[in-house]
């Protein structure tokens, strides 16, 4: 989101989901759309049936790639080079939107100078994508009447995550594919309400609606309304918290609905840090791996047991309604927070979540016109500044949130860890269709467990052959951080030299071996690339 904020002034999907159906070209990069966002994939396939072009850039042969007009399998972490290479060709051929660039953007000269270096030869050397394919995807994207970019964690979970996003923003602006129907840059959010959590300021540096912590006027507004003194200093990102714990600067941690004991990189390290806390409080639906380390566990409730709103990936604020009373001793998140706050000397007196929505509208300009009565049916898409505003289908129509769109001259930075003699394979991680994130919910479903019961390592048959490994064989996957034992799945989905590990499984947790190196701006770890070695397990020795 930081990348989009820098380029456009706000970070969210710029188009709406339904718009994808009528665009003329869709460029999917770093998103396994049909497995992770199937309903959005359906819109894309509908567009395809209406004649739209489909480009897929993904190191794996994912399901939706079989529908692509062109699928390129770039090397892990080579996205900036790939996108710069596309722009190199676009500028050379004169396919850019000159009018859009001159009227709505700034910074093209520095970018032009940067992408000049990314000749097709250089791009092929870095990404493995051949010139003819690079040319084809550049042409499809630039010459279609209107094109939309769709991306997800395959773009962001890199040390160059912010740079990757900035590059996509560059590409979109260069071709004038911004601020119009069907043209935009669209990060697909991985959870039903992660957009809402970010919108509400569940980030260390912003208040609700991305109003900056430290901005005097903003901070005063919140102080006055909440009748408290507020810090002018941003808090810590999750990536910063672990060192802070180790240095003794952070003594207590309250974790809500997150499972860092599976979702954070380098788990051995995470466990050590969480165990060093004076107090760990975990609020979750179930007693997760993280909750098992906690001194205090607060049972939360599911979607069916509470009233409120979820904000989906297209910025749409939608109502959820309680259909059953909370089970057992669990309570709604709002109730838990209110009671805790009262005990700590700051009573919150909301009788109903709708009162919280009124407060959000009062304090958050982009949510100013969103009330429960207006979202009974289909919800509203922010920005929606006042009661008469119909909501916003696509962002940046006549001008960008920051005024002019800003091009960033982004250079290619290789992943933090690349394969070498000792660890010769590149590992990437991701989601599979049958499970969700750390499996807190899905691994409790018998139907889904029947589908996929345990983790596996996807490897190209040729690589397996070289190692003398058979399909289904249990092997060791070893990185500089740790090792796991896991069954292999031989599949042509993978290119030679690259292996894939789903991240849902605690007993063979991908994050025992992933690299905690992170993006310097967004602090997101490089889950998508690290170097590993696969070893046969010597059965005699292991007994």
């Amino acid at each position: 989101m930081a990348g989009l904020a820098a380029a456009f002034g706000s970070g969210a999907m710029t188009n709406s989901i339904a718009e994808l159906e009528d665009t003329k070209c869709i460029f999917i990069i770093g998103s396994n759309t049909s497995e992770a966002h199937p309903l959005i994939a359906t819109r894309i396939l509908r567009a395809k049936e209406k004649g739209a072009k489909l480009i897929v850039a993904d190191p794996r042969k994912i399901q939706i790639a079989s529908y692509a007009d062109c699928h390129v399998q770039q090397r892990l972490g080579s996205d900036v080079a790939l996108i710069n290479g596309m722009m190199n060709i676009i500028l050379k051929e004169g396919w850019e939107d000159k009018e859009f660039i001159s009227e709505r953007t700034e910074g093209i000269d520095a970018l032009r100078e940067m992408v000049e270096k990314f000749t097709p030869e250089k791009v092929e050397a870095i990404s493995g994508v051949k010139e003819q394919d690079l040319r084809k995807i550049a042409e499809l994207y630039a010459k279609s009447e209107v094109s939309s970019i769709v991306y997800a964690m395959g773009i962001t979970q890199h040390i160059s995550g912010v740079d990757n996003v900035k590059s996509l923003a560059n590409l979109a602006m260069m071709c004038g594919n911004m601020g119009k129907e069907g043209g935009g840059v669209n990060p697909l959010r991985g959870q039903n309400n992660v957009q809402g959590a970010c919108d509400m300021g569940a980030l260390p540096n912003v208040f609700p609606g991305y109003q900056k912590v430290g901005d005097e006027k903003v901070t005063e507004k919140f102080e006055k309304d909440w009748n408290v003194k507020l810090s002018r200093k941003p808090g810590l990102t999750i990536t910063d918290m672990f060192p802070a714990i180790e240095e003794g600067r952070l003594k207590a941690l309250y974790v809500l609905a997150e499972n860092p004991m599976l979702s954070d990189p380098d788990l051995k390290h995470v466990k050590k840090a969480l165990s060093a806390l004076d107090l760990l409080i975990v609020q979750d639906l179930f007693l997760t791996e993280t909750a098992q380390l906690a001194q205090v566990y607060l049972p939360g409730v599911s979607f069916a047991e509470k009233d409120g709103t979820f904000v989906n990936t297209e910025r749409r604020v939608q109502r959820i309604r309680k259909v059953i009373e909370p089970l057992g001793e669990s309570r709604s998140d709002l109730k838990i927070i209110q009671e805790l706050s009262a005990k700590m000397g700051y009573p919150m007196e909301y009788e109903d979540p709708s009162q919280v929505q009124e407060e959000i509208a009062r304090l958050t300009p982009s949510y100013g016109g969103i009330t429960y009565s207006r979202i009974e049916n289909d919800g509203l898409q922010w920005p929606c500044p006042n009661e008469d505003h119909p909501g916003t289908v696509y962002l940046h129509k006549d001008k960008f949130t920051r005024g002019l769109g800003l091009f960033h001259a982004v250079d290619y930075v290789p992943p933090d860890e690349l394969p070498d003699e000792e660890y010769p394979l590149a590992l990437t991680t991701g989601r599979i269709f049958a499970h969700f994130h750390t499996g807190t919910m899905t691994r409790k479903s018998s139907a889904l467990n029947k589908e996929v019961e345990k983790g596996f390592l996807e490897i190209n048959p040729k690589d397996a052959n070289k190692l003398g490994i058979l399909g289904g064989e249990k092997v060791k996957a070893i990185s500089r951080r740790g090792e796991i034992s896991i069954e292999v799945l031989l599949t042509e989905r993978m290119d030679e030299g690259v292996v894939f590990l789903p991240f849902h499984f605690a007993e063979s947790a991908a994050n025992v071996i992933t690299n905690p190196a992170f993006d310097p701006v967004a602090k997101i770890p490089e889950y998508k690339v690290c170097a590993v070695r696969i070893e046969k397990i010597d059965e005699k020795k292991e007994g």
Partner: protein, 271 residues
């Protein structure tokens, strides 16, 4: 116009002819229509009356809902709003001994011409109905169009559609005729687990074979499918084949499917 149905349902409840009525309800302040069980003849608040408006008429798997409720309350007499397809579903469930005619009272609704054309329904009305007008059945242009494709194209058409499948089981779960306790689609010997699309075309052909002589053409499977697989064309086609070879159409008449290998109930001696 739909006052008639509400009045009829109210009387059935008040006279004790049914204990509950499975219909649709409008919620206050919301345009979303939901299935609802009415139990009080004097209180039909929100009783949905727009069920024949346009081709996107609000439809829910009411027969499947009734099926589940009847399993839990086997003694209860239940009323249900029944279109032509719902009635065909009920008739098949009686034949397959999954429901007892004594348990069910239908309140018939004939579909609009618009909906009949959208569904390409061969009988868009139940045998008896309280509301609506009989409009003629419609032949399926979609089936004709796909059948007219040359074989390699036709195969490509279906393989292409099936390869979108994300194995959500939505088609099976919503189907009023899918009542088996064990489902072939979950047998690992037939269908390998752990991957999408599920084995192509075995997964969908297995289901299609099981729909032969069974599908009552309600079309809910296709409406539920999140990836736009035109399942209704496929199942209409398999039923046309059964019609051509055995002169049998599910949901019509008393006789059982020619593919029924279960035979009769012990208390029936007609075979």
């Amino acid at each position: 116009m739909s006052e008639k149905i509400a009045k009829h349902v109210s009387e059935l409840l008040k006279q004790g002819k049914i204990e509950a009525f499975i219909g649709l309800k409008e919620q206050q302040g919301s345009k979303h229509i939901i299935p609802h069980i009415y139990t009080d003849g004097d209180n039909l608040d929100g009783f949905y009356t727009g069920f024949n408006e346009g081709a996107d008429a609000k439809r829910y798997p009411l027969v499947k809902t009734l099926f589940h409720i009847s399993k839990r309350y086997p003694e209860a007499r239940l009323g249900i709003l029944a279109r032509g397809c719902d009635e065909r579903g009920l008739k098949e469930l009686y034949k397959w001994n999954q429901l007892n005619t004594e348990q069910v009272v239908t309140v018939g609704l004939a579909c609009s011409k618009e909906l009949a054309e959208f569904c390409e329904c061969y009988k868009p009305y139940p045998d008896e109905f309280v509301e609506g007008e009989k409009v003629p059945g419609v032949d399926s242009e979609r089936v004709k169009k796909v059948s007219a494709l040359e074989e390699p194209e036709r195969l490509k058409f279906w393989l292409d559609k099936f390869s979108r499948c994300i194995k959500c089981y939505g088609c099976r779960n919503i189907c009023p005729m899918c009542f088996c306790k064990e489902c072939s689609l979950e047998e690992m010997e037939f269908i390998e687990t752990g991957k999408i699309p599920p084995e192509n075309p075995i997964f969908h052909l297995t289901r299609a074979v099981h729909m032969a002589g069974r599908c009552i053409d309600c079309g809910l499977c296709e409406e539920a499918c999140p990836v736009d697989i035109p399942l209704r064309i496929l199942y209409k086609k398999v039923n046309n084949i059964i019609m051509d070879h055995y002169s049998y159409r599910p949901g019509f008449g008393e006789e059982k499917s020619p593919l029924n290998i279960l035979g009769s109930r012990p208390d029936e001696n007609n075979s």
